[in-house]
């Protein structure tokens, strides 16, 4: 029995190829050139792309399919991170037990919150989830400090027990690994003027991203997924069709909570620190924005939305005046200063402004998010090709 359709297989394959060659694709500019500022192909950001991709895919299973807008999803991310770091502190630096625990704990936590919050729908549900997440954040920041290390965030230290790890004699903090493969190992390939970094941690994240994406495709195409979409459009009819909607929504909530837990666990595996800010409402809002921005209810959209926001956060925030002056130094002084003055509102410390404007632009002109943009380009392309083919009559039979 084939598990996914040809079209879905193609999408999955496409994502896999992108993920595999991301270190090349994301580093289009030579290292020493001025444009290198826009390169995103370094391990930390690539890991983040993958991790937030997982998070958004999971969120989309809940929001995209059922329409239940959770405003507290970051709580599960945070809980996952804390669990993972505790595993690093108590057991060993192997990421497998950490990931398992973070998924389980996030699952249980979301079961509890979901069970209560799903008694209400619409905005009442959103506010319930928000309230739970904000409570988690406030407590993690203050009274739960013995468990979370509060403001600083939970870190590994030299005197953690780590009962399964060999004794540490180096005096250095141990690093996270997968049976000896260290997450931070990076192999740099120098190719002409380009530096490409291939990082183990990133590829682990990418594998999980593909797995998450694959499972999400299966869910989308399953009877379960169909029921979830039915919940979004008409709960009354579904009830009168003999379906109990609560367990369905709860299952979707828990699944997406487990996705968030996995993302949190991976985040801690790449960088063993878990901060309370991960649970704040702004973090939850970011997940919502990623999903809407990319295209709610689409398979690929949320991943793209996640990449989009993280790119702005990490790349635009680093473009300072000096960099700008470097770019425009060929201009006459006066003009250079004017241009730099205008641009500096949007870059460096002004990166939020650019992000805000992009949010507005996309939602105004592309109501379906980035995915709509892509499908429009696709349509335009097809249309153009069709036209060309008609006029030149040289069309060959397209390959299947």
């Amino acid at each position: 029995m084939k598990t996914i359709s040809k079209a879905d297989m193609r999408t999955l394959f496409f994502v896999a190829i992108i993920a595999l060659f991301a270190p090349l694709i994301l580093n289009p500019f030579p290292t020493e050139s001025g444009w290198a500022q826009f390169n995103a192909g370094y391990p930390d950001l690539m890991q983040r792309f993958a991790i937030y991709g997982i998070l958004a895919i999971g969120f989309n299973i809940l929001f995209g399919l059922t329409g239940y807008l959770s405003f507290g999803h970051a709580a599960f991310l945070g809980v996952g991170s804390y669990s993972a770091v505790w595993m690093f502190k108590l057991l060993s630096m192997n990421i497998i037990p950490a990931l398992i625990l973070s998924v389980i704990v996030a699952g249980l936590f979301s079961l509890l919150i979901g069970f209560i919050s799903l008694r209400r729908s619409g905005i009442y549900f959103s506010i319930l989830t928000l309230a739970f997440a904000q409570m988690s954040f406030a407590l993690a920041y203050s009274v739960l400090t013995p468990l979370t290390n509060g403001e600083t965030g939970l870190q590994i230290t030299l005197n953690d027990p780590r009962i399964f790890a060999a004794e540490n004699i180096s005096g250095n903090l141990p690093v996270t690994s997968l049976f000896g493969l260290e997450m931070r190992d990076t192999w740099t390939m120098q190719l002409g003027a380009w530096d490409f970094q291939f990082n183990i941690g990133y590829y682990i994240c990418a594998i999980f991203l593909l797995l998450a994406f694959y499972i999400s495709i299966r869910i989308f195409r399953s009877p379960f997924g169909m029921m979830l979409r039915a919940i979004k459009t008409n709960q009354t009819r579904l009830n009168f069709t003999g379906i109990n909607t609560r367990p369905y929504t709860l299952a979707a909530f828990v699944i997406s909570g487990m996705y968030a837990g996995l993302a949190g666990g991976l985040m801690a595996s790449m960088d063993p620190l878990a901060g309370a800010e991960r649970m704040q409402w702004t973090a939850s809002g970011e997940i919502v924005l990623m999903t809407i921005l990319g295209g709610t209810g689409t398979l690929l959209g949320p991943v793209m939305g996640a990449g989009f926001i993280k790119y702005f956060e990490n790349i635009f925030s680093k473009i300072n005046d000096t960099v700008l002056h470097g770019w425009f130094s060929w201009m006459p002084d006066g003009l250079e200063n004017v241009i730099v003055w205008i641009l500096h509102l949007f870059t460096g410390k002004g990166w939020h402004l650019t992000l805000g404007i992009m949010f507005m632009m996309i939602v105004i002109f592309l109501p379906g998010g980035l995915m709509e943009g892509i499908s429009r380009i696709g349509k335009w392309w097809k249309h153009r090709n069709a036209k060309n083919n008609n006029t030149s009559h040289t069309s060959s039979t397209p390959a299947e």
Binding site: M1, K2, T3, I4, S5, R218, I219, R221, S222, P223, F224, G225, M226, M227, R229, A230, K232, T233, N234, T236, R237, L238, N239, F240, T241, G242, I243, N244, T245, P247, Y248, A251, I255
Partner: protein, 252 residues
């Protein structure tokens, strides 16, 4: 004893008594119509059957189970389906998916975490749904979004969804409301043929007397929250109490 028996049901909203000692007995395999002037309590009564409302006193028994205090989906799983006055369908899904969902609900029950098999791998479900769409003559619209159909098509789709579950009792709330004459007639034919073929018990609430008399095998007349007459159609036509109830309404 019929398949659905209603005994001494009372329901009031605040001071208003909507149902007053209602007794009703719907026989298996029959088409039973409930008629009555506006505000007689027909819809309230129907809502008591499907778990939307709970009567203050009295019992509603279906096939040996009490319907009181259980959820709509449980009632449906017992074999009661309902067609609404304005069609309740999954408007953002395709016609095809609309018919599939009841099939899955019938097979998998109120909740099954069937998250890893593909919808299209469930061949038996697909066949059932397809057959149903052929039956209601919607097969060529199978990939359309349900929201983009005409009202008559939506009604037929809703009926197909209910019928694909092979319910023991089908409740119809004004199934021809707002339909053109031709549509109404085809609906009547559809219902008749279904009744013949599948022997499904039906309870119909209807305003249109021509529909009622061409379909019903038994009629209950509801007025001011209570059943005033219950009889075969021929006897209802000239019944003085019925006239009074309707004329009373007309005079107001």
């Amino acid at each position: 004893m019929g398949i659905l028996t209603v005994q001494n049901v009372n329901k009031s909203f605040g001071g208003l008594k909507a149902l007053h000692n209602v007794n009703l007995d719907i026989e298996e395999g029959k088409i039973h119509a409930i008629i009555g002037p506006n505000g007689a309590g027909k819809s309230t009564l129907l809502n008591c059957f499907v778990g939307k409302l709970t009567p203050d006193t009295g019992t509603v028994m279906f096939d040996g189970h009490s319907l009181l205090g259980i959820k709509p989906h449980q009632i449906n799983q017992l074999g009661v389906s309902r067609v609404f006055q304005t069609p309740e369908i999954f408007s953002e899904l395709t016609v095809w998916e609309n018919t599939l969902i009841p099939c899955f609900a019938k097979r998998d029950g109120a909740f099954t975490l069937n998250a890893l098999s593909r919808v299209s791998d469930n061949k038996d479900m697909a066949e059932k749904a397809e057959q149903m769409l052929v039956d209601v003559d919607l097969i060529d619209k199978k990939d359309m979004l349900a929201s983009s159909m005409s009202r008559g098509d939506k009604r037929r789709l809703e009926m197909a969804m209910c019928l694909s579950q092979k319910p023991k009792l089908l409740l119809l709330d004004e199934p021809t409301a707002g339909m053109a004459r031709a549509d109404t007639e085809s609906t009547i034919e559809l219902l008749k043929s279904i009744q013949k073929k599948l022997k499904i018990t039906m309870a119909i609430i209807e305003h249109d007397m021509s529909v009622v008399f061409s379909l019903a095998q038994k009629i209950s007349v509801l007025a001011q929250g209570t059943v005033i007459v219950e009889d075969v159609p021929e006897k209802i036509k000239g019944h003085p109490k019925v006239k009074e109830a309707y004329l009373g309404e007309a005079q107001v």
